[in-house]
């Protein structure tokens, strides 16, 4: 499959190898992140006017889902400030490797947890409270601060970026969907890696740290767990690391047989459907139930939410898989074919986010004009009245995204079904049915 190696451009390679451009972006992101926490704590409790809600759940979410993930995969992870404080403590340095010994216990992450089950659980945990989280600045601030604190704590106990790799609720789905992105980090020449002594890309050297994501770049075949942190570009003594442009969804041509990744596909697809119903649907009782955390109505909603995502969607999908062979073989077929849900899931989130973001975009200008809700009018837009943006284009764009998602998933299903030696038709029909439900909910 054709690739365009971006790292043949010497100025680009120099910029990637230097730590300063990334550091400057990280510092800006850290300042924005901390400011969002502070604004959530001291700003107005009115979500639509609070910088933390508007900046995180509208502006950042729009950039992440509509651009960063589809085009750059884990591009956000490359500049995410959450691991910065923990890594500073863990490494004893902000820039390159220092002579100081690594701090903390530096333990290996437990083997049974070396998967993304915990990331699915952490995402579902937040999703259960999403109606409160997305509208209550104080809760958003606490969650943002909690993620940094968790990252720091894990950095002091475990080696590398344990939080990003195994616990971050956002990193999990970015990783799965990054397989669809047209950008990848790969090695140029495998024999070079095989012959390389010391494997500094994984173990670190005076040039840089060993892979913070606990990945050996020489074995990379998918984007899922590469955080694009660029350390391997800095540490590789042979300049054997490339960043390539490639066709969309190249990773999905070889479907994964991992059940945790398959489950993640259901978590994300199901969440998009539930969010579309709760946040954008016309059912007031459903919205109330999702918002009134701790009540009986919320408990029923939570059980229904979890059951739909973890039982209903996978069970119906399982009916699309021929039941021949041993259980292990069935599980592998199930996982491989679930790969087909990744493009549809990504497009479902794009369609949902288009509605969410375009309907609420006016809040962004107002929040930037008065980020602390103190009556400022920095951009002259603090009193901008709410109105949906590009309303005429919303339904066509959502339809296009969902139809495109079905076609894309059908294409991936062909590959997965061929590998699993089953018919692609049932899974294609499943994708089509999900898309129809989403069209009904969104358009």
């Amino acid at each position: 499959m054709s690739r365009l190696e971006l790292t043949r451009n010497p100025p680009l390679v120099a910029a990637l190898k230097s730590r300063y451009p990334q550091l400057v972006i990280l510092v800006l992101m850290l300042a924005g992140y901390v400011f969002a926490i502070v604004a959530g704590l001291i700003g107005t409790p009115v979500g639509s006017s609070n910088f933390s809600i508007v900046f995180v759940w509208i502006a950042w979410w729009a950039v992440l889902i509509l651009a960063a993930v589809p085009l750059l995969g884990r591009g956000w992870c490359a500049v995410c400030p959450i691991p910065l404080p923990g890594e500073w403590l863990q490494r004893g340095a902000v820039l390159g490797p220092s002579r100081e010994k690594a701090r903390g216990w530096n333990l290996r992450w437990p083997r049974p947890l070396r998967n993304i089950w915990l990331q699915s659980a952490s995402f579902l945990l937040l999703a259960l409270f999403s109606s409160v989280l997305l509208t209550t600045p104080l809760v958003t601030a606490v969650v943002l601060a909690g993620m940094v604190i968790a990252a720091i704590a894990l950095s002091l106990v475990f080696e590398r970026r344990a939080f990003c790799r195994y616990l971050c609720p956002v990193g999990g789905f970015i990783g799965v969907y990054s397989q669809a992105a047209p950008v990848e980090l790969r090695i140029k020449d495998k024999p070079v890696c095989v012959a390389c002594e010391g494997k500094p890309c994984y173990n670190g050297s005076a040039r840089g740290y060993g892979c913070p994501w606990d990945v050996f770049p020489g074995g990379l075949t998918k984007n899922t767990y590469c955080g694009l942190c660029l350390e391997c570009i800095r540490t590789c003594p042979h300049d054997n690391i490339a960043i390539n442009l490639r066709p969309f969804a190249a990773d999905l041509e070889g479907p994964s047989a991992r059940l945790d990744e398959a489950f993640k596909a259901f978590v994300m697809l199901g969440s998009a459907m539930v969010y579309a119903a709760v946040l954008l649907g016309p059912w007031g009782a459903l919205k109330d139930a999702a918002f009134q955390v701790g009540t009986r109505a919320w408990s029923i909603y939570a059980i229904a939410f979890l059951a739909f995502i973890t039982v209903v969607l996978p069970s119906v999908f399982a009916l699309c898989i021929p039941p021949f062979g041993r259980a292990r073989a069935f599980r592998q077929r199930f996982s491989r074919l679930a790969t087909a849900l990744i493009p549809l899931g990504l497009m479902a989130w794009v369609a949902f986010s288009l509605s969410f973001v375009l309907n609420n975009a006016t809040y962004v200008l107002a929040a930037i004009s008065d980020p602390l809700s103190l009556g400022w009018n920095l951009l002259g837009a603090s009193n901008l009245s709410w109105r949906p943006m590009l309303a005429f284009a919303l339904a066509p764009a959502q339809t296009l995204a969902l139809v495109g998602g079905v076609v894309w998933s059908a294409h991936i299903t062909q590959h997965a079904a061929a590998e699993a030696r089953v018919s692609p038709i049932p899974v294609t029909v499943y994708c089509l049915a999900v898309a129809v439900v989403l069209l009904w909910l969104l358009v």
């Binding site: 510092v27 924005g32 901390v34 820039l95 009556g375």
Partner: protein, 330 residues
């Protein structure tokens, strides 16, 4: 430590501290008055301080729904306070005293509890005259005693149909003092006892009573009363005065759920807003009695005390308007 590493650490630390420190500095230097639903705290702070003659500049924000801000018994127009936005209001007090500020928007069931006080000092405190007691106090009225008219008109009394022969006999009953101290039913009884009017029917006498009530108000006063009623009363009492405003159902539910009703279900009906279209109640109530109910409020019910809010003139305008639910002045 190498210099680049030192610079990097400084950069990270300064960015993080600036992102915390700068907002905190602006936040602490910009005091806001927060408006919340009364059940969530109401005004914060609820007590303000000012100097007589010195403009008090206030910056207000709402933490939940649309509220309004106004100071009772002041001509300064109220301002709306939108959720998450900052509104400004400037009030200047001529004389010292304790003033009440209140919410001017129907923000919720406990809207009327959204009150705060402004302690105004300075100026010539010795010159502040003590106000005369309101009429209902002077008259010694029992605001909670039943006031029911035992004779009612068969249809709506019309002021314009007052019989010509009654006009001469009405003069004594048309003074403001008489009007304010007597209920329409008492007036009707006085008219019935007037020998010169003995030939008039009950309906004619009710029309004459309506005429007396009309003569004690003006179109401007009725218009002002209607405005005050719509802004402050209709949420519970209903636009048509029938006690069926948008909050009436919630009030009844709150009454049923409250511990105020421990004495029995009868007490719970106290949460039902008064029905001004109820002829027996209204025709048995004098303007002074209604003034008292407005000023004092309905102790233990949802009826707020409007004494600190309305001026005397506003109360009389409102009282005059309430009788339009019984009398036709057109």
């Amino acid at each position: 430590m190498r210099r680049p590493e030192l610079h990097a650490r400084l950069l990270v630390a300064v960015a993080a501290l600036a992102a915390i420190g700068i907002p905190l500095v602006f936040w602490t230097r910009t005091p806001l008055i927060h408006a919340r639903l009364a059940d969530n705290g109401g005004w914060s702070p609820a007590v303000l301080h000012a100097q007589a003659g010195v403009p008090l500049r206030l910056r207000l924000t709402s933490d939940d729904v649309v509220h309004g801000f106004a100071v009772g018994q002041m001509a300064t127009p109220g301002v709306d306070i939108l959720p998450g936005k900052v509104s400004e209001a400037t009030v200047t007090f001529d004389k010292p005293g304790t003033y009440t500020f209140y919410c001017t928007r129907w923000c919720g069931l406990s809207h009327w509890r959204m009150r705060g006080t402004i302690e105004v000092t300075g100026g010539n405190e010795a010159a502040v005259a003590s106000a005369a007691p309101p009429l209902y106090v002077s008259l010694g009225l029992d605001l909670d005693a039943p006031h029911v008219a035992s004779v009612l008109p068969s249809d709506e009394p019309k002021a314009r149909l007052a019989a010509a022969q009654s006009s001469a006999s009405l003069a004594a009953l048309q003074s403001a003092e008489y009007y304010r101290a007597h209920s329409p039913y008492q007036t009707w009884q006085d008219l019935r006892r007037t020998h010169a009017l003995s030939g008039l029917s009950d309906r004619d006498l009710w029309n004459a009573t309506a005429s007396i009530w009309r003569s004690n108000t003006t179109p401007d006063a009725l218009s002002q009363g209607q405005r005050l009623f719509s802004q402050n009363c209709a949420a519970c009492h209903g636009e048509k005065g029938a006690g069926d405003g948008v909050f009436a159902g919630d009030l009844a539910a709150a009454g049923a759920a409250s511990t105020q009703g421990m004495a029995g279900t009868g007490n719970m009906t106290m949460q039902t807003p008064a029905n001004f279209t109820d002829a027996a109640r209204m025709l048995g109530a004098s303007p002074a009695l209604l003034q008292g109910k407005i000023l004092r409020g309905g102790m233990g019910t949802g009826m707020p005390s409007w004494g600190p809010i309305f001026t005397q003139s506003q109360v009389w305008d409102l009282v005059a308007y309430l009788y339009t639910f019984q009398f036709n002045y057109h």
